[in-house]
Subunit: 339 residues, 2 copies
């Protein structure tokens, strides 16, 4: 008999919680009845009532009570103390105690980061956990680390991101010896700010497949598998990239509004546009794990659709099956960090 | 009789020099015969021969000899000493000595930055000059400062960028009291790294129209007129934005290659696509002035087309006519920098 994997879902996080969380859970649970069990965390009565509004509820979904909800207005670093019984905290407690193999949340990203770090603890030797994000490219599969877990990073943090990011691409995507690029303002070794110049040294002297500096223009080209940067830079780039789709939609709409002929032209190309531009839609990528903590915590976009929630759940399952956390920790142990 | 404005052109800078420089100069000179004189700098004989290959050369173009050429491989900070007679240096000397009202270059950006700063000198109170870039938006006209003039900025530098950027939007675009946003990882005042948290304070206490933090997604929305950031972040964002057009072109090409029907679909929408996406083409924006130096130095993209070169020349003319440099310096003098 195969193992039943248990995933906790912060059912009160996310802009459309609990609707999208419940609908996403039903999708995942229905498709994986024999080997998946999902645990929704949040107000027990409320969630049960919401769940019962749906048809064909699979039996492999249960609810664990949580009396508090973290909102987008809550200060992330304080929620650990001020809301100890939040739906997020309860989901993480299930992971910590072994009652769940992993958890997912589309809630306040900062709160997920802080609560996961404090509750699950950091992996040996990891200074700061990191969040990566897949970018659409016309070349190699590319993930950018860090996209906002921490700012004012030190070179050693960026070096650790490179190791964790490489392990992630290897284990999750089967890319052996993934290429690593350091995001910078120029290709030459001498280019950059204090942080990147020092990080360049660390990466050069490592056994990673470091290809040197890459520039902003190289991300969408897919020049390397892992792009490393400070969380400030990564966060700005990610949000900029996420806004391109809306920019294009609005631009085409404005163009169509200029004349009847232009409206017809845009109308004719709508289907093709949609086909091509869907790669820019972050909903399709599901969530990303917080790397560097002792447990599986998948972070999703606040606006995650039911499909995105399902993808996050399945990502948690995959991370568990592939034993990402233990394998990353073992790899980190082999590296001498006294640099 | 109206003033004849003289603009020096670094005819050996740029990826397609001197062809595009010469063709761009001919365009600008032909359209402005009575009030514009252009001076090409570079190897006198070579440029004369190249110029003579063209038809209908207007008489308001002359050549000033320069024996050296700065390449993209030259270390920007060293060219000031190693190539004192470069086409760029000679163009800047013409500005410095008053023989030209301004100069333009599509050459090595770092070299333009260093040579301009050392030759022309900085404006009173300016710690570091800055380069801005117009971004296409669906809202207000938006320029981002700094896009790569300097990294590891201090709060006072970002504050000065905000002042110079605001003056630029006011004088060049007629936007009174332009709105200023600080690029950050979140909207709240408490968000950011050390640099942005301190810069927020300076901007809050200034008489600028500071609207607070803006995020990566707000740039293309045109949420404010002036977006302020460290040159590292701005450079990465600018190059990322520049790559979007290529990404889309390649994505549509790959889609078209999938089947005959898809090829027909993409073929049908090509004209409309081009119409809408040309706003993403940086060639249309011409160059941007290096702000904070005592003289007019317009920096352009290495790949500048003849049209882009013409636009750069006309930008220099406009900056001269509107007396941007003196007016910016006067504004800076009214501000107490002992913060």
């Amino acid at each position: 008999m195969s193992e039943i994997i248990k995933i906790a879902i912060d059912a009160m996080g996310g802009d459309f919680a609990p609707d999208n969380e419940i609908d996403g859970a039903i999708l995942a649970a229905s498709e994986n009845k024999s080997n998946l069990h999902l645990i929704l965390t949040g107000d027990e009565k409320f969630l049960a009532a919401e769940l019962n509004k749906r048809k064909n509820i699979p039996s492999n979904i249960s609810i664990v009570n949580a009396t508090e909800v973290i909102t987008m207005d809550d200060s992330p670093s304080e929620t650990f103390k001020t809301k100890p019984d939040s739906s997020l905290a309860v989901a993480l407690n299930l992971v910590k105690s072994g009652k769940a193999n992993g958890c997912i949340s589309a809630g306040n990203t900062g709160a997920v980061l802080f609560n996961s770090t404090f509750k699950l603890g950091r992996l040996d030797k990891v200074g700061r956990p990191t969040i990566g994000s897949i970018f659409p490219t016309t070349g190699d599969i590319t993930m950018v680390f860090d996209v906002g877990a921490s700012v004012d990073c030190k070179p050693i943090h960026l070096f650790q991101y490179a190791i964790m990011g490489s392990m992630y691409m290897d284990i999750m995507y089967g890319i052996k010896n993934p290429s690593v690029g350091l995001l910078n303002v120029g290709e030459e070794k001498s280019k950059g700010d204090e942080l990147t110049i020092k990080t360049y040294e660390l990466l050069s002297n490592s056994k990673l497949n470091f290809i040197g500096n890459v520039e902003g223009r190289d991300i969408l080209k897919g020049k390397c598998n892992v792009v490393i940067c400070d969380g400030f830079v990564g966060n700005v780039i990610l949000k900029f990239a996420e806004s391109v789709l809306d920019f294009l939609k609005t631009s085409f709409k404005n163009y169509a509004d200029e004349s009847v002929m232009k409206k017809i032209k845009v109308g004719m190309m709508r289907g093709t546009m949609k086909d091509v531009l869907k790669r820019f839609d972050y909903q399709n990528y599901g969530g990303v794990p917080l790397l560097g903590v002792k447990g599986i915590s998948i972070i999703g976009h606040g606006k995650s659709s039911p499909l995105a929630i399902k993808n996050m759940i399945m990502k948690a399952v995959e991370v568990h099956k592939k034993d990402l956390i233990n394998r990353t920790e073992n790899e980190l142990r082999t590296i001498n960090f006294s640099v």
